[in-house]
Amino acid sequence: MKESTVMEKKTGMLQIIDNEGNYRRELEPAIPEELLLRMYRTMATVRKFEEISMGLQRQGRIGFYIGAAGQEACSVGSTAVLKKEDWIFPAYREPGALLLRGETVLQLFHQLFGNSLDYNKGRQMPNHFNSREKNVVTPSSPIATQIPHAVGMAMGAKITKKKEIALTFFGDGATSENDFHSGMNFAGVFKAPVIFFCQNNGYAISLPTSRQTASETLAQKASAYGIPSERVDGNDILAVYSAAKKAAERARNGEGPTMIEALTYRLGPHSSSDDPTKYRENREVEEWKKRDPIRRMAGYLRKKGYLDDESDRKLMDDIDKEIRAAAKKAEAVPKPPVESIFENVYSSMTWNLKEQMEETVGRYGPGYTGR
């Protein structure tokens, strides 16, 4: 595999499969076929979901989209090592984490459309996926704020002698934010069972990682907090899985937190509002397309004999159908009623909210959904 100019500095990183799916037997983790196929399906679903959603966005049917293309192995490979009682604190490029845990594409579409079945009741922009049932905790837009939450949850599990651990996702840019610093430091001091998963995709919007910090690697930032860390090829699902597995074991054994820096790349724009040609070369994108994590995993699965042309095509067809059907269904669901604007601010509605709700209902009518 050719060295990239952008991402891989002299410091090493764990890699198990190459661009063609050849793998290093001595490092290959033992993942059951069923799980491998589920991981593959999830990654492919994320990719297709994005393709279709970006289309909806361009047609003005949803307001915004923020994609994960090229980074699917990160959230899927790490989520795969968790138990279902463990908690996930995502950013916005981890629909894969929810899907692998069994959240439906339909539910994700409810969120994109902000309709009445959206768990968030239409309050957040697209891609702020939250699922109480799947222990995926409500993300927000401000960068890095979820990190101390993951640490606090893990501290709580430790205090109450539970076995649950936390996994949190963030980007390279997030390592500069205050909450990375506070979260990492608290985790180190309290030996919290948490996995810090940094998706270093080379850019924070337009800023390359080399201008984000003068630190040689992001992984080495962990040493400032007495936390061990590992660098992995983030487009290599086996490498991600292995590193996460080790980190999860450490956490479960009371050995505290681990940071993982996964070197990856977003193939698309930062979001549907972004024009990446302003700040990066097409050549670089092309280079990274060769390392597509889905193609690499497919290669591996074929070599293992778990996948062939036909089963792959059928899978892709199924996914496509599922997604298109879900999009249609979600789009047809009405908005939450206007009264919902005033709910969940407090556990019970205060007088001023009631006053404002009454005024609103007075204008739009009770149960108004825009139709």
Binding site: F89, N130, V151, G183, V189
Partner: protein, 324 residues
């Protein structure tokens, strides 16, 4: 019943709830062995151990952020911020996260954190140990803001805050931590959040206030009483959600309103009280709505006694209202 200071009531409230409910933990700087810089957590580390009374690194957003994580997980953390003046590094965690978690998740997650912090002047703390920035929090939808003025209320309101499903910013008027004493019941009881208290009944003018200023206003009321003015003193106890009914009832009765607090006046909490009265009770008014507040300057060390509204200053505003 035991005679307690406001500070002792705060400690007692935490102890009481920690005994009743395992989920209650304390987190903050120097809250452990040291017992807190004001001694609010004295003895609790010895009683409950370091896992329930957690000394943290020096980082306020870490305190609030991890407390939030614990609350999401089902615990009931009480986070101490050493001085209100040092809450701002945690501002993002408070206003972007804590306040909005329930809303943004459609109510699927809640984060019942109590943030305790001493506030206000009167201890020669200068610019950075004296601030009253309650309005930042009162303006933030999703937060409740509570501030007691008596030991009884301190304990009852703090227990109510710990039991509340919503995040609560619990402001402790440090100037009267030790100066006000009162018989306080042993064991658990609550004072409801969102209910004001008539600290003194009167009929000529409503003085609406909270926190340490309640005592200043009572003193002022005693002063003007000698001049034949009967002032009613309303202790809000909760700033958000505000007990609008009690405020309006008092003003409708007296026809005059003076709002007193020690925060800077411009866009301060007093403005909301004045605005609500001007919106909902204007016809009962026989005088302009007056606000007596701290100055629109940062806090000051040497002149703190001039900065803080004292009884004489409040009395001056009462007289001004009466003579209109």
């Amino acid at each position: 019943m035991t005679v307690r200071t406001l500070l002792q009531s705060v400690t007692d409230a935490m102890k009481t709830e920690m005994e009743l409910d395992d989920r209650v933990v304390i987190i903050g700087e120097d809250v452990g062995r040291d017992g807190g810089v004001f001694r609010a957590t004295e003895g609790l580390h010895a009683m409950f151990g370091g896992e329930r009374v957690m000394d943290t690194p020096l980082n306020e957003s870490g305190i609030i952020g991890t407390a939030t994580g614990m609350a999401l997980y089902g615990m009931r953390p009480i986070a101490e911020i050493q001085f209100m003046d040092f809450i701002y590094p945690a501002f993002d965690q408070i206003v972007s996260e804590l306040a909005k978690i329930s809303y943004r998740s459609g109510g699927t997650y809640t984060a019942p954190v109590v943030i305790r912090t001493p506030y206000g002047g009167g201890i020669k703390g200068g610019l950075y140990h004296s601030q009253s920035s309650e309005v930042y929090f009162a303006h933030t939808s999703g937060l409740k803001v509570v501030t007691p003025s008596t030991p009884y209320d301190a304990k009852g309101l703090l227990i109510a805050s710990i039991r509340d499903e919503d995040p609560v910013v619990f402001l402790e008027p440090k100037r009267i931590y030790r100066s006000v004493k009162q018989e306080v019941p042993d064991g658990a009881y609550t004072v409801p959040i969102g209910k004001a208290r008539i600290a003194l009944e009167g009929k000529d003018v409503s003085v609406i206030t909270y926190g340490a200023s309640v005592h200043t206003c009572l003193e002022a009321a005693a002063m003007v009483a000698r001049e034949g003015i009967s002032a009613e003193v309303v202790d809000l106890r909760t700033l958000s959600p505000l007990d609008i009914e009690t405020v309006l009832k008092s003003v409708e009765k007296t026809g005059r309103a003076v709002v007193a607090n020690e925060a800077p006046k411009f866009c301060g909490f007093g403005a909301e009280i004045a605005a609500l009265i001007a919106e909902k009770a204007i016809d009962s008014l026989r005088a302009p709505i007056l606000r007596v507040s701290g100055f629109d300057t940062p806090f000051t060390y040497t002149w703190e006694n001039v900065y803080l509204p004292d009884a004489e200053r409040v009395a001056g505003y009462i007289r001004r209202s009466m003579s209109y």
